[in-house]
């Protein structure tokens, strides 16, 4: 409901009254194509062409003749699925994929859980300081991922961090936040910090769109605010929850700038920590653009399968719920 396209002229193909055909009307027939021309040209140049080229690259490899010197010594030949089988058996890529899946399993529920919690709290009667806290929580959205990772990165360093200061004073153990298991928490925290506010606003906006009459009956029946939140509000904002989840999956699997930024601060983040970092290293560090292209295509496919798989599962569950 929150993503409803308002179509004042009816759905595509629905019958509608034809106005009298005038010269202006005829001109209007070609006009939409002119309005869409810039977007179409840009789409072909910067979306369709690169995707096609990536797929082409992924199906080819370089053959070197002799010493590989002089022009014509390096030719691109058909490789079939060789690059793909190489990528799928590459332990670096698989390890990276597992790391990012674990990271996503931490980030997405915590981030969206907090976003939903804050949105519900903002929507509560008699809550104070709502405008100020909402703005403060939304603020990290305006801060680039690199800068966010940089700020938190320093806050994770024992010499600088207030957390270590407190732990030291309390005489408690001081874990290394930039290594092993805590590294996942450290990276997840950066993503949660950066993403909660934006998702909170999306959910809050759809909460405000619920007409007040919906609550009246529940209030008359003596339902508590908690019951109203659980039984009415959350089911009503389910479509925006599904939408935020869907986009969070896509964004999380593409994680690149945060681990890349933390890399100078710790030895535990390798150049292949996330699959995207591996693609970058293979393309520009190792100079094997064919392998990198195959890896990029695989990551894109896995992302689309996971995100659309989630969307399908969520939608069929919503439909079942309606049928009951």
């Amino acid at each position: 409901m929150t993503t409803a396209h308002r179509e004042p002229y009816g759905a595509e193909g629905a019958p509608y009254a034809l106005p009298p055909r005038t010269a202006a009307r005829e001109r209007a027939r070609s006009a939409p194509y002119f309005f869409l021309l810039p977007a179409t040209v840009l789409f072909v140049l910067f979306f369709a062409l690169p995707i096609g080229y990536a797929i082409w690259l992924s199906l080819h490899k370089v053959q070197v003749k002799g010493l590989g010197l002089g022009s014509g010594a390096r030719t691109e030949i058909w490789a079939g699925l060789e690059n793909y089988t190489d990528a799928l058996t590459d332990s670096e890529l698989l390890d990276g994929a597992l790391r990012v899946l674990g990271y996503g399993a931490l980030v997405i529920p915590v981030m969206l859980g907090l976003a939903l919690l804050f949105a519900l709290m903002l929507d509560t009667d008699k809550v104070r300081l709502a405008p100020v806290t909402r703005l403060a929580t939304f603020l990290p959205y305006a801060i680039p991922g690199v800068v966010a990772a940089l700020l938190w990165g320093f806050l994770y360093l024992p010499d600088v961090s207030p957390f270590y200061f407190v732990l030291d004073k309390l005489g408690m153990p001081q874990p290394n936040l930039l290594d092993g298991g805590p590294l996942y928490l450290a990276l997840s925290n950066i993503a949660v910090w950066g993403g909660t506010g934006f998702n909170m606003i999306v959910i809050y906006t759809s909460l405000r769109a619920i007409p007040a009459e919906v609550y009246e009956a529940a209030k008359l029946d003596g339902a508590s605010p908690l019951q109203i939140a659980l039984r009415i509000k959350i089911p009503m904002v389910a479509p925006s929850l599904i939408l935020t989840f869907f986009f969070s999956i896509i964004a999380t699997l593409q994680v690149f700038s945060e681990p890349t930024t933390l890399k100078p601060l710790t030895n535990s983040v390798s150049t292949t920590w996330s699959p995207l970092m591996k693609v970058y290293r293979d393309a520009f560090g190792a100079g094997d653009i064919h392998a990198a292209a195959a890896e990029a295509v695989i990551i894109a496919l896995v992302t689309l399968v996971l995100s659309f798989g989630f969307l399908r599962a969520a939608n069929s569950r919503t439909k079942q719920g309606e049928a009951r």
Binding site: E12, P38, F118, K126, V160
Partner: protein, 301 residues
């Protein structure tokens, strides 16, 4: 600061004017929600507060004094940052402003044209065109950025301002927002009346429809501005000349060098602080013009 709240509350209040908000006797603060929101706000402000304080510390104070104790080195840090590589930091800031400002402007223009075209006209293949453009939002940037680099390299355009600007001009999300906004804000009758008066389609768009679409387009511009300003992957791949770096890439390279020369850490921190503060100021000023309702596609009709 409260303008966002006023506008947010308006639709809900408008639906049931004069409805009593529960029994008047129970007029107290909802304590748990207020405290929860306060904790959330503190968590979000913590790194910002830290960077402001840390930027006042000299290199020695950074690693020796308590985190939230202000230091004495602020002016020296500023002077060091200004002197670093003949003030390349300001060049990075300028580059970021150029990439984000010009990029968002071009993107808004393309989104306005496409959104209007899709909202007002009915033509064969309209939903197909829309669907294909929207598929772009789902394309992970990784599958785009590397072939974009290789193709731009063939055109000898890498390591240029254009290589960072052009790939970001087409914004599927911007087109989506412009379309729903044009559908809601530009009545079909008005367009038809313009035609009756003999105005050309282009004239109707520029003189009649565009002014009506301005509030929605401001939102598209701001979204795109933040998206380009925050972008790291594309400039990281495209650029090698650090005179063309945006601030994100500049600070990253500074941090990378800092792992060998810790003296650069104070520069990184001061640089991060200066990069964050104008953005926050901008954010506070513009949030009143920003229809966040559009975020989830809800348009007040």
């Amino acid at each position: 600061m409260s303008s966002l709240a006023v506008r947010k509350a308006a639709p809900a209040a408008g639906t049931t004017p004069g409805t009593a908000q529960g029994p008047p006797l129970r007029r107290r603060i909802a304590l748990v929600p207020t405290l929860t929101l306060l904790l959330g706000a503190l968590y979000c402000l913590l790194p910002v507060a830290w960077v402001v304080i840390a930027s006042t510390k000299s290199g020695r104070e950074l690693f020796s004094t308590f985190t939230f104790l202000p230091g004495t080195g602020f002016t020296q840090n500023l002077r060091d940052l200004d002197a670093y590589r003949d003030g390349i930091y300001w060049k990075w800031m300028g580059n970021s402003a150029l990439y984000a400002g010009l990029g968002a402007l071009l993107s808004t223009a393309v989104s306005a044209l496409s959104g209007y075209g899709l909202a007002i006209y009915r033509f064969r293949g309209r939903e197909t065109v829309f669907g294909v453009l929207m598929a772009g939002v789902l394309m992970p940037p990784v599958i785009l950025a590397i072939p974009q680099y290789l193709l731009l390299a063939k055109a000898d355009l890498t390591d240029s301002y254009a290589s960072v600007l052009l790939p970001l001009v087409l914004s599927p999300y911007g087109i989506y927002l412009a379309r729903i906004y044009a559908t809601a804000a530009v009545p079909g009758d008005v367009v038809e009346a313009g035609r009756m008066d003999g105005a050309s389609e282009w004239r109707i768009f520029t003189r009649v429809a565009l002014p009506m679409m301005v509030p929605g387009l401001v939102t598209v511009f701001l979204f795109q501005f933040v998206a380009v300003w925050n972008n790291f992957l594309l400039p990281y791949i495209m650029l090698s000349d650090d005179e063309k770096f945006p601030i994100t890439l500049g600070l990253f390279t500074l941090l990378e060098q800092g792992s060998n020369t810790p003296a650069l850490y104070t520069l990184v921190i001061t640089g991060a602080m200066l990069a964050v503060i104008p953005l926050i100021a901008l954010f506070l000023i513009i949030q009143r013009f920003w229809s966040l309702d559009l975020l989830s596609g809800a348009v007040k009709s």
